[in-house]
């Protein structure tokens, strides 16, 4: 039984292990968040020394500002479609790779490789894919398909979804693959003996056992999509027009270019609130299903 003084020393030492991280984290993340809330209540332009207090004026402006609403609309659509498509594709490929198709490691690498490229570089590459390389097929095959998805506001979302999925399907697929491979074969065997078809096996055994993977992937893809910025800078610069300006891109434009730091801070705070709400809701729903299944 350690003596009381020893125990105090231990406590101090444990605390000292945690303290630097606490300090850094608070200064680096929490302090900005608190300051962000403060600035969001002012109409600060980022440069002068005065911070005129305007209460919730920025938030009111946000709700009436078509550019902000457009940015939110784009971001939400991007996140929604991405979460849906990327999850399904990742699961799809994971299932295929799990069924013992030949050259599995090769396919796994091919699917995974794109995520090593920085999104800012991926956007650059795909610009050339759409405007240069893919039209090259037209010359070869004599077709006249318009591949310039980044050139029209009606197709730019599709273009970006393709790039993002190309990059990250492999990443999430690995998670599903690991989860799939950890399902004991006996479960399948006994179901098979009981006469269950492929489909039933999938629905009744695979899906429930994948529940934790679902949680990670769905939350991960949603959060990752909501904060899209790097890709947009190089792929479309937010265009054409403002068709692909995400909320973070909009904050960047508003604060740094249009010199509205107060308004930009309000936008940031609203983004944080949305992120927290979505995270809580998603985690709540998914964790509950995990427990159920």
């Amino acid at each position: 039984m350690p003596k009381p003084r020893f125990k105090l020393v231990m406590k101090v030492q444990y605390f000292s292990l945690v303290f630097p991280s606490l300090l850094l984290f608070t200064v680096g993340l929490i302090l900005p968040m608190i300051l962000g809330v403060y600035y969001s209540l002012t109409s600060w332009d980022g440069y002068t020394k005065d911070f005129p207090f305007i209460g919730l004026g920025n938030f009111a402006k946000m709700l009436a500002d078509p550019h902000t609403l457009d940015a939110w609309w784009f971001t939400i659509r991007f996140a929604f479609w991405n979460t849906l498509i990327q999850n399904l594709l990742a699961l799809f490929f994971a299932v295929i790779l799990d069924t013992g198709v030949k050259a599995k490691t090769f396919y796994r690498t091919v699917l995974f490789l794109p995520c090593l490229i920085a999104p800012i570089v991926a956007g650059f590459i795909w610009q050339h894919m759409y405007f240069d390389v893919l039209p090259g097929f037209n010359a070869l095959l004599g077709t006249k398909v318009n591949f310039g998805l980044f050139g029209k506001s009606s197709t730019v979302l599709l273009g970006l979804l393709i790039v993002n999925n190309w990059q990250f399907v492999g990443y999430w697929m690995l998670i599903y693959l690991a989860a799939l491979q950890s399902i004991p074969r006996e479960l399948y065997e006994s179901a098979f003996v009981d006469g269950a078809s492929f489909r039933i096996q999938f629905l009744k055994i695979t899906i429930p056992m994948l529940a934790p993977a679902f949680t990670i992937c769905i939350v991960g893809i949603t959060v990752g999509s909501l904060r899209v910025y790097d890709l947009l800078v190089s792929a479309t610069t937010g265009g054409p027009g403002r068709a692909s300006t995400s909320i973070i891109y909009h904050i960047y434009n508003t604060a740094l270019n249009a010199r509205q730091y107060g308004y930009g801070s309000a936008l940031s705070i609203s983004l944080i609130i949305v992120l927290l709400v979505i995270a809580v809701v998603q985690l709540g729903v998914l964790r509950r299903r995990e427990v159920q299944l």
Binding site: Y47, F131, D132, P135, N146, G148, G151, G241, N257, R259
Partner: protein, 412 residues
């Protein structure tokens, strides 16, 4: 494991220390570059090291179009750099904000062409060293013109006849790449310089005062319709997805005859064919007296708050007197010199046209337009509406009205 950690830490500290090299003066230079300017910093560093080895430049390079203004704004509060490098049009903006130090009468200004010094002088005070110039107008394939007996059009009627002739022999009159909205914006400004600002230098101020509207102004309609003239006489179904380099390549290959552009295309032309023979003429205006547009480009400015005024002067001295370095920069950027006695060594067949227009006094400064209507937030937004109109999703009236709605933010 431990040894590795200390190695890394040591490396980090070593690098940090080398960044703050002791001895000599280090002056901060903020450079807003276009992508074609990349690399001039190395040439300048080498030239400076040769003449004044203990002056070192601490470079901060940002993209001119999007970031320079924001950075300057920020530094006005937290401490301006000693040298600001921008484009010719920044001179008026920054001098009016009183952040530039006057350099009137400095000895190194004698190395700069008189016209360039004049263009950098406001109310008798010179604020910058203009280093090179871009020429904007209609670049044309000389071989096509010669083979088809075409002469340089000076009026719209002559241009129309030229277009008809080209269409009849199956050559696309204009090479365009409307995929790049900045090209639409640039073309429109070129039209505006010769059709609006040459007649009425205060047009933009009257616009902002509400006396002129794009929607009702006949000249605004005229310049928007020039865009349509180009669109109707180019590869319509491709221009909104064609890259700049491909459009330039087609001009060189003879698939198109003309391109409304600027000196920045020269590098691309020469990449496709180093012997390409091209010339330049101003896009004809309604009055038939269009002038070739000359745009002062890279401009060096001294900040008003610098503590190293002498060192900055020395840097300017090197830039204007080191003819080898200057020539290297002109060759790198494929631009025209504004430093006396320097001839670039790259082949520029359009130079003889430029010299001819210069000799006749038929050059107009691009700043007559660029200082009137700001690029970011106005010109680039108008380009989006023009693109929408040409593609059929807006009417011309809607595009013009949209320009009117941006009245308040049009001031540079």
């Amino acid at each position: 494991m431990k040894r590795f950690r200390f190695m890394v830490l040591g490396l980090g500290i070593a690098l940090a220390l080398t960044a703050f090299s002791a001895g000599g003066q280090t002056i901060r230079i903020l450079d807003g570059q276009s992508t074609t300017d990349a690399g001039i910093e190395k040439i300048i560093d080498a030239a400076l090291a040769a003449k004044y080895p203990n002056i070192k430049l601490d470079w901060e390079i940002v993209t001119w179009g999007t970031d320079l203004n924001a950075k300057v704004q920020q530094y006005i509060q937290s401490g301006l750099p000693d040298i600001i490098v921008g484009k010719g049009q920044d001179l008026a903006t920054y001098s009016s904000r009183k952040i530039l130090a006057p350099i009137t009468g400095k000895p190194y200004l004698k190395n700069v062409l008189a016209d360039a010094v004049k263009s950098a002088t406001f109310n008798g005070t010179t604020y910058g060293v203009e280093f090179n110039a871009l020429y904007q107008g209609v670049y044309y394939n000389r071989k096509i013109f010669k083979d088809n007996n075409l002469s340089i059009p000076k009026t719209q009627a002559e241009l129309q006849a030229l277009i008809r002739k080209l269409n009849s022999v199956g050559i696309t009159p204009f090479a365009t790449h409307f995929l790049d909205l900045w090209s639409i914006g640039n073309i429109t400004m070129q039209f505006a310089i010769n059709d609006i600002f040459s007649k009425n230098p205060g047009w933009a101020n009257e616009f902002r005062a509400g006396k002129i509207n794009y929607a009702t102004s006949p000249e605004a309609r005229v310049i928007y319709n020039y865009n349509k003239l180009l669109y109707d006489n180019t590869w319509k179904d491709e221009t909104f997805s064609l890259e700049q380099t491909k459009a330039d390549a087609r001009l060189v290959q003879g698939k198109a005859a003309m391109k409304v552009s600027g000196s920045w295309s020269i590098q691309n032309f020469l990449d496709v064919d180093p012997d390409f023979d091209f010339g330049v003429f101003p896009f004809p205006n309604q009055a038939g007296n269009a002038k070739l547009i000359f745009e002062p480009n890279i401009t060096f400015m001294k900040s008003a708050t610098t503590k190293y005024s002498d060192a900055v002067d020395k840097v300017f001295d090197v830039i204007t007197s080191d003819k080898d370095a200057a020539q290297k920069i002109y060759d790198l950027t494929k631009t025209a010199p504004l430093i006396k006695g320097v001839t670039p060594s790259y082949k520029n067949p359009s130079q003889k046209d430029i010299d001819a227009y210069a000799a006749k006094g038929q050059l107009v400064d691009a700043n007559t337009g660029n200082l009137q209507l700001v690029w970011g937030g106005f010109q680039d937004e108008n380009a989006k509406d023009i693109a929408a109109w040409l593609q059929g999703s807006e009417t011309l009236d809607q595009a013009l009205k949209a320009a009117d709605s941006r009245r308040a933010v049009s001031k540079p």
